[in-house]
Amino acid sequence: MRLQKATSFALYAVLELAADPARQITAVEIAEKYGISAHHLAKVLRDLGRAGLVDAVRGVGGGYRFAGNAKRLTLMDVIRLFEDISADTTEPAPPAAGEDIARGLSFVLAELDSQTAATLRSISLSTMLKLIARRPWAVEVEPGPTRRVARR
């Protein structure tokens, strides 16, 4: 799946800040680290502040600080502030002649949406930070009966 830019920026920011809740970081510092637009990130951080996920600290040495509960806040909680990734139920009704095929495809796509939503609801920021530290994408994987080794 692809997330909108603002959503990705929000996830970068909350994970970066949640990794060390005592630390204050500026939007520019986060933007430089991730190679993204500081202007766009500043807007995203304002939205995160309005949602109570980050606190803005003004003045010299100011910046942003994580204000949420990393054990309770899930990836879905952050994502849904910026976009709706639930199944699209607002599609216009399919033409009668192609109804079965259209409904069949929608059924399969809804299965994917449901899986995606369940995954994002189950991963807290704290779990995500542990996963990042563990780097599971860089270790051996087992795709069924044939083994393969992914290199770091």
Partner: protein, 160 residues
Amino acid sequence: MARRTVKAPRTEGDAEMEIRTATAADVPGVIALDEEVTGLLKPDYWQDMFERYGARRRESRFFLVAGAAGRIDGFIIGEVRAWEFGSSPSGWIFAVQVRSRLRVHGLGSRLFAAVCDCFRDAGVDRVRTMVARDNTVIHSFFRSQGMTAGPFIELEMRFD
């Protein structure tokens, strides 16, 4: 029957809580705990579970309980499964329960760590499980232990 206390990381506040292999005397406590959590009384099911996973083939089947002073506050059940659709031997967890008021204090993590120790001792290098898609609590619990999506997909078909 041998009582094996398994090693598992402890957290502050539950130092007196022991995690060990279940015995027949623990079954009523397991039944009561499950009833308290699920609202369903299933004595025959848990008696059968104990006979299958607590009393036989104990080198590859693990029924662990957590408790103190004769009280059961949590349990976890798993077994080593192998070669289902090409899956190499792995630990499989199919039940875990912790008394509601004791949740988020590390007991579930200790039970998970304990059963993983049993799986390692049995010679497997990974653990798998299956959770209901809408059961965010248990899904989040397994995620927090480090579990991620595996290489298999669960499918079902309804008989009409």
